[in-house]
Symmetry: C2
Subunit: 268 residues, 2 copies
């Protein structure tokens, strides 16, 4: 399996603190050592750093940990391979362009017997179930919405519908983002915290490191951090109920829907 | 304007030496300080490092200079903005996926009145002429070759035909690569060198640095380096005649065609 980390803010913020704890789980405090990657949106542009080696021992991860890149949306992943060899082309997050925007996807889980028909508009380069499902999602977005990017509400509804369908094939925790919104699906494990004023001091679980957020924020800052398991030990993280798709924007949880089908749990 | 750097080899090789000279031109020995980027193919995967600040002062460029990433094909660019603001989304090289392969493009020049009809399969995220022409090339490749990636010969013929057409709109030096081949077009300035046994010592133009290639190669290695102007001062670089499209693979110049239309200069 793998672990996921994401951040969504209302002002460009660096992720050095959270990444320090997350990085350690890639081969030091945990077993996810089959590669790692991180994507930073900056305006409409995006930077993706990838490495097929363990984040705990990667010089590129060291740079990311120390270099404060300011971003409103970040998506990161550390890999424990299930499908696909350990190789750069199988390293998350994956990126594609649609409607003149970049889209980023990272997945934790395992989809079995998931063989969608891909029409060639988006095709996987590597051989993971994760990249395949990302290509399928992108294809369906284009098919259903045509040449115009839908608004966030319509986008969210389509992703919820697709998630309901795909989730039947197995564990499907994911992070999906463009330069404006971050969608997060908890199939089994995902937690989040929204930091805002009054800010306090946080201490990492995986490294002996603290930060006093009052020194690095302004009173209007809002920062949502999402991770497979909590990254800090003295803050209150909220566990997302399995089968929940969330939309984060401007550092807030703006919408959520159930993604487990059932008589009383229709998608709203 | 901008400057280009590429490498194509028959065995994975690092670009630290060449990049050291090239990096200096982004704000120290030359004026190309409006961002830089570099793409490394590793197997079918690709890593792209981008920064909207000058390469001479970029911590990410420092990492790239010092960290020997082994690759058979590398494409790099330092930018002096002509069209499009200084921003990450306007920073070369650009990447798209087609036929389950990644494609990388970097451009030096300026295309005027180039307004191709884009059907939406590939759209620019930023606002440069360079990304627009890349999207047009990708669209035309898909339109002309359908769902199957053509062989390298057919691919080269299509790129030559497109270059002949696009080149009429202005200066169009470019680097275009997938994980197997590198295509290089000299519209005005491009030079190259192929290093192979017997190897010698080379000294950079832009930094006081030498390397004795006999210590870091084997007798069968072939390394083609392409740059806007020569990077070393004691080697013999070949200037590509303006209006030449070349195909490099396995460290060799494998094909070239004229891209200036005329009665005696038909594309072969």
């Amino acid at each position: 399996m793998c672990q996921l980390l994401a951040m969504n803010c209302n002002t460009p913020t660096d992720i050095c603190f959270s990444f320090t704890g997350f990085q350690a789980r890639g081969g030091r405090t945990d077993v996810h050592q089959d590669g790692w990657g991180i994507a930073f949106f900056e305006g409409r542009g995006v930077r993706v750093f990838l490495d097929a080696q363990a984040s705990a021992h990667s010089p590129i991860a060291e740079l990311v940990r120390q270099y404060p890149i300011k971003s409103k949306t970040v998506v990161a992943h550390i890999r424990k391979a299930t499908q696909g060899i350990v190789a750069l082309e199988n390293t998350h997050p994956f990126m594609r362009e649609l409607w003149g925007r970049y889209w980023i996807f990272a997945h934790n889980g395992n989809l079995v017997n998931f063989e969608p028909e891909l029409d060639g508009t988006f095709l996987p380069v590597g051989d993971t179930d994760s990249e395949k499902v990302f290509c399928y999602i992108m294809q369906e977005l284009r098919l259903r919405h045509g040449d115009q990017m839908p608004n966030n509400e319509a986008l969210f509804a389509t992703i919820a519908e697709l998630t309901l369908h795909i989730g039947q094939c197995g564990e499907f925790n994911f992070l999906f983002s463009n330069d404006q919104v971050l969608m997060v699906h908890a199939s089994t494990n995902l937690t989040y915290i929204i930091r805002k004023a009054p800010f306090a001091t946080a201490h990492l679980k995986d490294q002996d490191m603290s930060v006093d957020f009052t020194h690095v924020t302004t009173s209007t800052d809002k920062v949502a951090v999402i991770a497979t398991t909590p990254l800090t030990e003295n803050e209150s993280w909220t566990r997302l109920e399995p089968g929940t798709l969330c939309l984060f924007a401007e550092g807030d949880l703006q919408a959520s829907v159930k993604t487990i089908a059932g008589p009383a749990e229709k998608i709203k």
